[in-house]
């Protein structure tokens, strides 16, 4: 029983991160129907910037929580800037181009960001300094660490804040209007370009925080970490129904739990023919399954096949 609970806790932690990243995909998709392939790289850059800051401050006698906070405060604007630049350079000029074009630039941007990061931070995985004391709590036979609690809490807070922003503020109304019909929204006096930039920036900020979370959780950052994480978060967004905020949150958490349970039990279920090294396969199977049986996702509207 405690393995089950333990995997649920691990899954919740991972799922919170997926949910935060998935929100970035879903917001951009909701507003301009573009899959931002390079979104995963924003997570990577967030983790890398935070690593540099935390590593530099690790020797000082500041409290660890403050150091991580400073790391986040550095990572967020950096990612916002990259997210904004990405939209301006690679996506805005192609807004009316055929669908294939922005997808291809997105791949290009993703490759460029990865290799610029490689140049700046080296090819090797970077180990975060262990500054946060490893506190654990025991819950009904399972163990939950302080970092896990922090990740889950912060994610919930950010999701709440985002929901508030989208549904209760003027900016949020403008975003929703743009996503429903950009032309009409423009006629109503909404500066669409600004709203789209803003969407990218918010998504990038979320990705930055997710990057710091992943970095501190696994203790490692790597220039290639973004693509797989991005793909999983995208699967989560599709699972929940792409373009739907609540869907991205639900999808992220579900995917995290599926992955954790899958990795925990696949060995027993298959008599150790398959091991936890197949963990990364689950997200993909979920994605295929959703696309086959319910392409609109759990909470989404019908996906028309607009060519």
């Amino acid at each position: 029983m405690d393995i089950f609970l333990q995997q649920i806790i691990n899954g919740l932690t991972l799922g919170s991160v997926y949910a935060i990243v998935a929100l970035g995909y879903t917001m951009v998709y909701g507003i301009i129907q573009l899959i931002n392939f390079a979104h995963g790289e924003l997570v990577m850059i967030g983790a890398m910037v935070a690593f540099s800051v935390i590593n530099a401050l690790a020797g000082t006698h500041l409290p660890p929580v403050l150091i991580v906070l400073i790391g986040v405060l550095a990572a967020v604007p950096a990612c916002m800037l990259v997210g904004y630049a990405m939209e301006r350079i690679a996506y805005r000029p192609l807004r009316n181009a055929p669908r294939l074009a922005p997808l291809i630039t997105a791949i290009g941007i993703s490759i460029i960001l990865q290799h610029v990061a490689l140049l700046v931070w080296s090819r090797n995985p970077l180990a975060f300094p262990q500054i946060i004391p490893f506190v654990t709590f025991s819950v009904g036979g399972a163990i939950i660490s302080g970092v896990q609690i922090a990740i889950i809490l912060i994610s919930v807070l950010m999701m709440g804040a985002l929901t508030f922003m989208v549904y209760r503020t003027k900016l949020g109304i403008a975003m929703r209007a743009t996503s429903q019909n950009p032309q009409v929204a423009g006629l109503m006096g909404i500066d669409i370009d600004r709203i789209i930039s803003f969407t990218f920036i918010v998504g990038a900020a979320l990705a930055a925080v997710a990057g710091v979370m992943v970095g501190t959780y696994y203790g490692i950052a790597h220039y290639g970490m973004g693509s797989l994480l991005g793909m999983k978060a995208f699967s989560a967004a599709v699972l929940g129904g792409i373009g739907n905020l609540a869907g991205a949150m639900l999808g992220g958490i579900l995917l995290g739990i599926v992955e954790a349970l899958g990795a925990g039990y696949i060995g027993d279920l298959t008599n150790n023919v398959f091991g936890s090294n197949y963990q990364d396969v689950f997200a993909f199977l979920v994605l295929i399954g959703v696309l086959v049986f319910r392409p609109s996702g759990l909470l989404g509207e019908r996906v028309g096949d607009r060519a």
């Binding site: 899959i35 791949i107 290009g108 793909m231 599709v238 197949y278 096949d305 607009r306 060519a307």
Partner: protein, 353 residues
């Protein structure tokens, strides 16, 4: 080929190009056998890019896991012609098997996703590429099929009876090294692929692909079974990948999952995009450029950096990747139809909205 508009001059041009292609390996061999190998690689990539061009260029479906089919083909060849299972089938048996296996994978992947919008296909194929790599890496237990990350070595080279493509020989006073023999074989296969591509493009199927690419709803209204035709593009592209994979395994003599990562898919895609999606000659040009330019860069980038800064600041490998990324972004922004745009593509990408 408008250059040789007049019939007789056209044939003179073709003859000149043919002569140049026949003489090329000996010229390259003078600069070092490594360059012949690079030329072979360029032809192989051109073959691969032609396969992807069917999917991306003709049918307008973005496939980001294309290298997986290449990998499947390569492993099919390696398993059937190496000491790993102690099987040594001749290559003309294995290449079609590899094509068929890759084709089956293509259909398996395409069937559930091709009903959906194009961008889903992109991300699913991306995931598929990763999955294939994970399986290649891990299928060494409980039964050792792929030999895991170590890969498979001592793969048989191509051979016709006693004529072995990897051995050095002197024929009619000319020294034919292994790579030079492969060069002619690959060139012949590439020509075949080009002919198949050109014929496909102007066939009924090719026109159906074009119609789907331009407007899927209208194509369906015209009576095209869009899902089936798209699946056909996917399967054909995959078969090309499978054959190219088999050739790769035979030439290298060694394969491992390392050769079939996402980056390679991106590279092949860059070739297609750079040359001009949908244009057969453009794709070949793209493949040749993106194979040779990084190699040339490798040759002088390192010494220049050494003499300027005293150490290597940017590894050639990184420059190569940055080049691919930039090619994708800049081409889409400034010349979306590619270096040699296809006529239809030019019209289509020029119009906004």
């Amino acid at each position: 080929m408008n250059l040789f508009a007049d019939g007789r001059r056209k044939w003179v041009g073709v003859a000149l190009i043919a002569l140049a292609l026949i003489g090329l390996p000996f010229a390259l061999a003078a600069a070092g056998t490594a360059w012949v190998r690079i030329a072979n690689l360029a032809i192989l990539f051109a073959f691969l890019a032609l396969g992807l061009n069917i999917v991306v260029g003709f049918a307008g479906l973005l496939d980001l896991g294309y290298i997986a089919f290449y990998g499947v083909g390569a492993y099919a060849y390696a398993l059937l012609a190496s000491p790993h299972f102690n099987l040594h089938l001749p290559f003309w048996v294995i290449l079609p098997i590899g094509a068929l296996v890759a084709c089956v994978f293509g259909v398996l992947l395409g069937a559930p996703t091709l009903k959906l919008r194009g961008d889903y296909l992109a991300i699913v194929t991306l995931g598929f590429g990763e999955i294939v790599r994970i399986f290649l890496n891990n299928l060494s237990q409980p039964v050792n099929i792929t030999n895991g990350p170590q890969g498979i070595s001592r793969i048989d080279p191509f051979s016709f009876g006693a004529f072995n493509f990897s051995r050095n020989e002197t024929i009619a006073g000319l020294a034919f090294s292994g790579p030079i023999k492969y060069y002619y074989l690959l060139l012949a296969l590439l020509l075949l692929a080009i002919v198949v591509n050109l014929r496909l493009q102007h066939s009924r199927i090719g026109r159906a692909w074009e119609a789907i690419r331009e407007d899927e709803v209208a194509a369906r209204a015209m009576g095209i079974n869009t899902t089936r035709i798209k699946l056909l593009a996917f399967a054909m592209g995959a078969s090309f990948g499978g054959i190219a994979g088999g050739m790769f395994a035979a030439i290298q003599g060694f394969i491992s999952p390392e050769s079939f990562v996402l980056v390679e898919s991106v590279m092949v895609l860059s070739m297609v995009v750079l040359g001009g999606m949908g244009n057969v000659w453009g794709v070949v040009l793209g493949a040749v450029l993106l194979t040779f330019v990084p190699e040339l860069l490798r040759d002088w980038v390192q010494p220049v950096q050494q003499s300027l800064f005293g150490r290597t600041l940017i590894e050639p490998e990184v420059i190569r990747m940055l080049l691919f990324g930039l090619a994708l972004v800049l081409m889409m922004l400034f010349r979306p139809a590619g270096l040699l745009p296809s006529a239809v593509r030019k019209r289509e990408l020029a119009k906004t909205e």
